[in-house]
Amino acid sequence: MVQDVDQASGNNFHYIPNTEDDRREMLRILGIDTVEDLFTDIPPEHRNPPLDLPPPLSELELRREIEGLAARNRHLREYASFLGAGSYNHFSPSIIRSIITRGEFLTAYTPYQAEASQGTLQATYDFQTMICNLLGMEVADAGMYDGASSLAEAALMACRITGRGSVSVMDTVSTTYRQVVETYAHPQDIEINGLDARDPRITDDTACIIVQHPNFFGYLEDIASLGRMAHESGALLVVSTNPIAMGLFRPPGDYDADIVTGEGQPLGIPTSFGGPYVGLFATRQKYVRQMPGRLAGQTVDSQGRTGYVLTLSTREQHIRRERATSNICTNQALMTLVATVYMAALGKRGLRQVAELCYHKAHYAASLIGQIPGFSLPFQGTFFHEFPVQCPVPPADINRHLLERNIIGGLDISDRVPNGMLLCVTEMNTRQEIETLASELSEIVSR
């Protein structure tokens, strides 16, 4: 990097305004000669250690280097993709980027000072309203970390509500989600039981049934009868869902679900190699005081005008400390805002349209692939926009071939379905992409 001509008065770091003159003046006020005097509380043998890091870069050099790293990745703008499994490629209207990069949203703090944070708070209230409507639930929080951790928090909450010590996870729930639930449940000595979809059984110590709907394989579950079974034995029904599917299908709230969670990423958030996303979390009004996470509430100011505050905070760690409902503090607020703008932009008609586009395109793809000799659809039932196919050869081989044709294939799920590949089709996939995929798959078999 270029060094300043006059080191004594210059400053080489453009995020730090203090000049040498500023520093001298402050040191004079402090009555000390050097900034080193401010660090003498650090034991001398541990003070100012060498730092083995690269030297500073100018913005020009920085961009060149990082753009170089980005260029080494093959991404969804260049490749047709049929990959889903918890992270989905959807259209995100331009207004989202434009709104969330406004510094007033992007660089604001958590809205504890309500009078200085009405924008963030009102947008959060809009989010809670729309998520309740979408999921058919009575109350939603301001968002959790992601879909997986949100589900884990739901399991803990169900145990708190029922005073029971085990949770039953359907075997069609994402393995990753189950792993995260285990990480959270294990230290609380909560037992995790697998629930066989063909023969579900629970005990009188079961706090909740956890079901994914659509499930990991893309299929809708019979959550109505699972809910009846749970409620008959005093357990809760916890549903992890996909918000885009809710544009087309009846929401879990209609089936008497007690807690509904979900990955909010499909609501306009880029796939971004897995994060940041946002966890959806909704429940019944009567359980609101057992909820984790922040809640924005409407109130009035001293002049009677409508305003918003964070409320029911006595559930939270900054008040309740070790007796809080969760340790969550920083959440994914900006991603909550993305989802809010997305739901506003898509609106009543648009969300239904996106869901229908996904449904029709995925079913079209399934019908084409199902006709290719050697390929079959192993599952029966209704799926939304994802479905496993059983392939005649290992999916890894297929994906290598597809990649050469600029296609990112589905997820290899050979560990769960022999030679299984989980394909996802959204509104981003054109008819041509779908037909190219089908013809490439036929070519693989014919070789």
């Binding site: 100012n48 730092l51 500073p56 961009r63 990745n73 200085a116 796939t271 994060g275 409508t306 008819r431």
Partner: protein, 485 residues
Amino acid sequence: MINGQNVDRRTLMERSIPGRIGTVLPALDVPAQPLPQGEMLRDGLELPELAEPEIVRYFTLLSHLNFSIDTNFYPLGSCTMKYNPKVNDEMAFLPGFASLHPLQGQETTQGALKLLYLLQGYLAELTGMKGVSLASLAGAQGEFCGMLMIRAYHHERGDKERTRVAIPDSAHGTNPASAAMAGFDVVSVASDSRGNMDLEALKDVADSHLAGVMITQPNTLGLFDTNILELCDTVHRAGGLVYGDGANMNALLGRAKLASLGFDVVHLNLHKTFTTPHGGGGPGAGPVGVNDTLLPYLPAPVVGRQQENGGDSFSLTTPEKSIGKVCGFHGNFGVLVRAYTYIRSMGNTGLAEVSTNAVLNANYLMQSLKDIYYLPYDRTCMHEVVFSARDQKARDVRGLEIAKRLLDYGFHAPTMYFPLIVDEALMIEPTETENKETLDAFIEAMRAIDREVSEDPSLVNNAPHSTPVSRLDEARAARQPNLRG
């Protein structure tokens, strides 16, 4: 920021007019497929109907009702509200990062994996730790991971009696909450008269039941705990491990490595020290770093490097005795790109300049205000200073009112009533990205408010007066919760 007169505060749903649309989608280009039976389909969906310009104007209006770093100084202690470089966002938005699917074949994501690998190394170097996992999505989740690793370590050794975690009474609320989530009983340890953790009180609980201790260094009083070597030694001799809450790392960049002070595990808040934007409350990222002892327990995934055929390749790995997964994929990648960008921009020499200027600015504020606001611990502070408004309270104005009045002067409130051990605490952190003129204006505002406390206390007690709303009725919000429109 605009004030409250004539602002249309109707919500999105209240603005909805049937028939309007906010985006146009392409027509279906494949043959329509049969939809499932009617009872599975939903018949109504209550979402707004608004045209694009209305949506943009609505959210722009909302943005004008916020304070933010781009518009205001946030002297918010322990939150490190410093400037968020714009280039960080631009790098995170590059299609090669933002449009990357987390489950793509790793041969197609080598650039992203390399970035994560390098970031792990940079954070390890800054803390002196042996290994880092970037998986945890926020500071509190990092704490939870740290506690789970300590638990797993003791259990692995068959030492299941260690059920207690000691936490100083000055600690952030997430510390006890995270320890409790990890299945520990929390023991609170008092602070001594200099603001350090009381060494004798720690010795009282340092027994065969102690799993570990959670220490924030510098602590939430903004003070470097000068007993740190002995504190860590006490815990280690009792068989426990030392957890470091890295919330205040902005004071120590390039100045001290937590591992060499005796910490076994530490989390960092990338949304504080490493300039990723707070976004109105998140997303953050809370990577955890560990020493040799805890290396096998790190949460998954950790990025590993393989050297083959003269080149490097990178892959996601699960440590041998990993505590497991805490998120759906590989962490808050977009946040990690921003932190990487920041570290590369500042480099080795720049990061030390950060702590130097952050600490200098905090001491300058301390020196310039301690004649007016009571300073309970009168010693050199690190990156933040905690005053008490006890002298103002004696004149019938509490810290909360002073904080609200600061909003009228265009400054965000300091952190208030925290740490809990200081009466009427006002915790102020200027950061290195504020210039001296701003610090001087803030000092002048704090002095002016103190004059108002004497001359016109009701002016302060009824503040704020210039924000979009006046003081909000929080009691009503909690008593009659209205959480959706």
